[in-house]
């Protein structure tokens, strides 16, 4: 009974695992950055209704949101080397073993989140009052200027709550990267637990770390939202 939880072991594990939090955060932040760029591009292509590209973008958004993260990661992990192999006519054969699995993970997580962000951005742009664009055009701005200076900043604020939600999801989603051998927080937890044949302590420590990180970011986003919504409904 006394050995249900070994506290000193738990504490020791906690200390070890903290070292992997930066990996998890790095994965989440870089994927979020690339996914935002991708999502913006996809949203823009759909917004301008660019032929072919627009349809492709819509297809990507539907498929990207229907696939589990793990499958996306697997498809990138197994598919990308093959794709390059085929495109190069068999020349680029080796060398994939040298590519860090981190690269595949960031790519996979980017593709996955990008689809969600594209949809978030699209909804946000759509919910900006149409009159804003018209007023900007009537002042003599080009449609690009109107979009960039008037519509986009307002859409960004509208998108903020959903974006922060997406990022919080991404932090948790990075745990799936261990399946393609990335040594992030959860991957490290798995190694430690199986080496010591003790699970409860390790996964509790892991959960607490994720929880703390999530809470910190949640609070930060709440503060950011409060700061950014200066022009939304705040009647005097």
């Amino acid at each position: 009974m006394g050995n249900v939880i070994d506290f000193s072991f738990a504490l020791e594990v906690f200390g070890k695992l903290i070292g992997y939090v930066p990996v998890t955060l790095g994965l989440a932040l870089s994927s979020m950055f690339f996914a935002s760029v991708l999502g913006l591009a996809v949203m823009f292509v759909r917004w301008r209704r660019i032929p072919v590209l627009g349809q492709l973008a819509t297809f990507y958004v539907i498929i990207g949101r229907a696939l589990p993260t793990l499958i996306v990661l697997y498809l990138v992990f197994f598919g990308l080397p093959l794709l390059l192999l085929i495109l190069s006519g068999g020349k680029v054969n080796n060398g994939f073993n040298q590519i860090s699995p981190l690269v595949f993970a960031v790519l996979g997580l980017t593709l996955h989140s990008g689809a969600y962000l594209a949809e978030i951005f699209r909804t946000a742009v759509q919910s900006v009052n149409k009159g804003q664009m018209e007023a900007a055009l009537s002042v003599g701005m080009t449609s690009w200027e109107s979009f960039r200076r008037i519509v986009l900043p307002q859409a960004a604020v509208l998108a903020l709550p959903l974006m922060s939600n997406q990022f919080l999801g991404l932090i948790k989603g990075t745990s799936i990267a261990f399946m393609i051998t990335v040594m992030e927080l959860f991957g490290a937890a798995n190694v430690i637990s199986s080496l010591n044949n003790r699970y409860l302590e390790v996964y509790i420590a892991t959960a607490i770390l994720y929880w703390l990180v999530s809470i910190c970011f949640e609070k930060a986003f709440q503060m950011l939202e409060a700061k950014m919504s200066f022009f939304k409904e705040r009647k005097i």
Binding site: G131, Q132, A135, M141, F231, E233
Partner: protein, 251 residues
């Protein structure tokens, strides 16, 4: 001077503008009246290419634009020379009152920030809202927002300002301040104005020309006082009767 030649526009089978011709001399004020659905908004939006009309010509001083064939460049040039005041104000929600006026000056007229600020403050003064410069639109009343909207338009020195029912979304007690602002714009700035409104008193006191539209046609045009007192067309008389009755009741 702005002139429209045979402007036509249909939505599907619904012919909304059936060939509109009119001329507005520089520095004059023209008021358009007419029942709801007669195509007034469509006409103004057509001039600014927020909606492209099907046919016709728009002449703005030395510029001549064929609506059907207008290029992106022509549309942009036209928009740079016109300005619009919207029924729902449409102030940029992410900008303060002052920044709303500055925005077009910086982006379109390419003034420096400092120049734009200086000019914007002048116009803020003209509409009597100097102390509201740092307020966001949601912090202003409807009347104040619309006055900023007018300042935003005036500051661009446009050849013509298009007003689409600028006071119809306002609470009655706020209508006066906006009409006063428009009146001052007409008298002091000598701005060319095309105004859709149902404020007959404003038309009578400020406008040089009045147009009555119905069913996509101009039914009658003339000097406001004469038209209000003695409309030539039966349809104009009918439409105006409720306003004159209203005014008779008030006076």
């Amino acid at each position: 001077m702005i002139a429209l030649k045979n402007i036509q526009k249909s939505y599907g089978d619904n012919q909304v503008l059936r060939g509109i011709d009119c001329t507005i001399p520089t520095g004059s004020v023209t008021v358009i009246i007419g029942p709801s659905g007669s195509g007034k908004t469509t006409l103004l939006r057509g001039i600014n290419f927020l909606e492209r009309a099907d046919k016709g010509e728009i002449i703005l001083d030395d510029m001549q634009v064929d609506v059907e064939k207008a290029t992106k460049k022509e549309i942009h040039a036209l928009r740079q020379r016109t300005a619009m005041v919207f029924q729902s104000y449409n102030l940029f929600q992410n900008k303060t009152a002052l920044e709303n006026i500055m925005e077009g000056l910086v982006v379109v007229k390419k003034l420096t920030q400092a120049q734009a600020k200086e000019k914007a403050e002048v116009y803020l003064e003209k509409v009597g809202l100097v102390e509201k410069g740092s307020f966001y639109p949601t912090q202003l009343s409807g009347g104040q927002q619309q006055r900023i909207g007018i300042a935003r338009a005036l500051a661009l020195d446009p050849k013509v300002i298009l007003f689409d029912e600028p006071t119809s979304a306002l609470d009655p007690e706020l209508v006066g301040e906006v009409l006063d602002t428009m009146k001052r714009a007409a008298e002091e700035v000598k701005c060319t104005m095309l105004v859709v409104t149902h404020e007959i008193a404003f038309a009578r006191d400020v406008a040089d020309q009045m147009i009555f539209m119905e069913g996509g046609n101009i039914v009658e045009e003339g000097r406001p006082r004469e038209m209000i007192q003695a409309p030539q067309e039966e349809r104009t008389r009918k439409f105006l009767s409720r306003f004159t009755l209203q005014q008779a009741g008030i006076c």
